[in-house]
């Protein structure tokens, strides 16, 4: 981190309005965009009084790629690969949100087997996202080893998804009316093996990390928020569930075949960073359970409905909400009846979750701000779009 001279700051266009406060010992600190805890591409302007944060303002746009413009310029099918690049850690959920909204618009029915495959791969992807968050968060807090364990487990998962989709990170597996390829024959077995493996590792993670007194000291009572604050900022996902509201889009606004599965919705009332941590750790188990149910009851049949090669949905609009690893993903598509969408709007959960940060960080120690930032589970490409 580098302390900025106010004079240099004044020449920086994004910082003109962020002038130092009235007292001499106020310090303006530009955290990021290269700071490790900002994961590469987020910059936060901080006004510090000693070690305490007086004001925080995230500066976005370092990986802005204008996906919404691309959506208007490409045909419906051509825009699909973009979805793997909005949130590269939970690409399947974005695939789903876009495919779902276009299916609603065009009235395409998805065959049952495709729905089960979608559920299985999305939950696998959610586990890989949570594992990476877990490793990276602990890395932010100064524990180096857990990320090695997390990546070790994640490797098995990526192998399974690679066999299904052909890629390891930026999946573009969904198509309108189903999925591109059928899963390999050993897919159910590999999923069940992985679930077994992860279940044998989770108690170790709990003993080594979750119950660790240093981690608890860094997380408990840090960055507390209640449901009302989450509602006013539109924070969703584990951030909302960590504030005590057991709300999950998979239950609240059921889509696909989720109503057929039996799974709990973990929530913790404390509202601090530890509660958000616990929600995600519990969700690893929840996803395991959904995967088990999905692969063991997966029906046969076609994997995709017959959608026309050049899709021209009737005029109208549709949105589709999906529970991503970071919260509620909402894709709104408007059609004028032509081959390209008239407007595509992507609602990124991380965008709303990060907007709470300024409120949470006010008055905390700088080191705690890093903990809060990590507990929000930010994926900057998704926020910048």
């Amino acid at each position: 981190m580098q302390a900025f001279d106010p004079k240099t700051l004044a020449q920086d266009p994004t910082s003109v309005r962020f002038e130092p406060g009235p007292t001499e010992d106020k310090l303006i600190l530009s955290m990021g965009p290269q700071h490790p805890s900002t994961h590469g591409v987020l910059r936060i302007l901080l006004e510090l009084d000693g070690e305490y944060i007086v004001r925080a303002e995230p500066v976005l746009g370092y990986v802005h790629r204008m996906h919404e413009w691309m959506g208007q310029e490409k045909t419906y099918f051509q825009f699909m690969p973009n979805m793997g690049r909005v949130d590269y850690l939970h690409a399947m959920a974005w695939n789903w949100a876009y495919a779902g909204s276009v299916e609603r618009l065009a009235g395409i029915e998805v065959p049952e087997r495709a729905e089960y495959i979608r559920v299985a791969v999305t939950e696998l992807n959610r586990i890989s996202s949570h594992l990476l968050w877990w490793g990276a968060y602990l890395l932010d807090l100064g524990a180096f080893t857990p990320i090695m364990y997390a990546f070790d487990d994640r490797e098995f998962l990526l192998d399974i998804l690679q066999a299904v989709t052909g890629s390891r990170l930026t999946y573009s597996y969904f198509t309108f009316g189903g999925v591109y390829n059928d899963v390999p024959e050993d897919f159910p077995k590999r999923c069940l093996d992985f679930v077994k493996l992860l279940r044998s590792r989770l108690p170790m993670y709990r003993d080594l990390v979750t119950d660790n007194v240093i981690l608890r000291g860094r997380c408990e009572g840090i960055g507390e928020m209640d449901v009302e604050l989450a509602r006013r900022y539109g924070a969703t996902g584990p951030v909302l569930r960590g504030s005590g509201a057991a709300v999950d889009t998979r239950r609240a606004e059921p889509y696909s075949v989720y109503p057929r599965f039996d799974f709990p919705i973990p929530s913790y009332p404390q509202g601090d960073a530890m509660a958000r941590y616990m929600v995600r750790m519990d969700e690893l188990e929840t996803s395991c359970s959904i995967i088990e149910q999905a692969v063991s009851t997966m029906p046969g049949g076609p994997i995709a409905a017959k959608a026309p090669k050049t899709l021209k949905p009737p005029k109208g609009e549709a949105c589709y909400a999906v529970e991503g690893a970071r919260g509620k993903i909402l894709v709104h598509v408007r059609s004028d009846g032509g081959p390209k969408p008239y407007r595509v709007k992507l609602r990124a959960p991380g965008f709303s979750n990060l907007s709470v940060f300024a409120e949470l960080a006010r008055g905390t120690l700088l080191a705690d701000a890093v903990s809060i930032l990590g507990s929000l589970d930010l994926v900057i490409p998704e926020i910048d779009r």
């Binding site: 746009g61 204008m66 413009w69 909204s101 509602r231 006013r232 606004e253 709104h332 004028d336």
Partner: protein, 180 residues
């Protein structure tokens, strides 16, 4: 069904929508200058602001606010239309602080001026970008009649139910809602 609080929002028109085909349950159009009053009603009802989306239409910029309660299928959209010349409407960030960034994004992409916004600077684009990338050229703009299904247009008084005979199912549905 249209809930009772909608009347308090001072709607220009309200149209029920089918969740199975649109993902929304209700669309409420309000006058742009009344947007804060309308949204205060939703805040009191416990709605969460999901998103703010702007679209470039022939009639002007349409700003669409997505709301839903925390739980359940109840997404509703509030729409307001502002002209292309000097697009300006009040900011709702005093009611929903989460709207702050969404409005800055609309300012980035469309140049819409949110009056009373505490911090209306570029969010995603650099400050010297110089244009608003999602503003469509005059020829590419479509009107509401080209973008919305007939049922919605009838509910909003933009089309006659009998105007398009070839789609009897939708016309019948629209006519019954008008009677009610």
């Amino acid at each position: 069904m249209i809930p009772a609080f909608v009347a308090k929002m001072g709607p220009v028109c309200s149209a029920p929508m089918d969740h199975a085909t649109t993902g929304m349950t209700l669309s409420i159009t309000v006058e742009a200058q009344n947007i804060v009053d309308a949204i205060t009603v939703l805040d009191a009802e416990g709605y969460m602001l999901e998103d703010v989306m702007a679209s470039d239409l022939q009639e002007g910029f349409e700003i669409t606010y997505h709301f839903s309660l925390l739980d359940g299928i109840n997404r509703l959209v509030v729409r307001a239309l502002v002209p292309h010349e000097a697009p300006r409407l009040p900011s709702i960030s005093a009611v929903y602080p989460g709207a702050d960034w969404h409005e800055r994004e609309c300012y980035d992409f469309y140049g819409i001026d949110f009056a009373g916004h505490p911090n209306l600077y570029n969010l995603l684009l650099p400050e010297n970008f110089g244009s608003h990338p999602l503003v469509k050229p005059e020829k590419a703009r479509k009107s509401l009649a080209d973008l919305m299904p007939l049922g919605y247009l009838v509910d909003c008084g933009l089309a006659e139910p009998e105007a398009e005979k070839p789609k009897p199912a939708k016309v019948v549905k629209a006519a019954t809602t008008e009677d009610a």
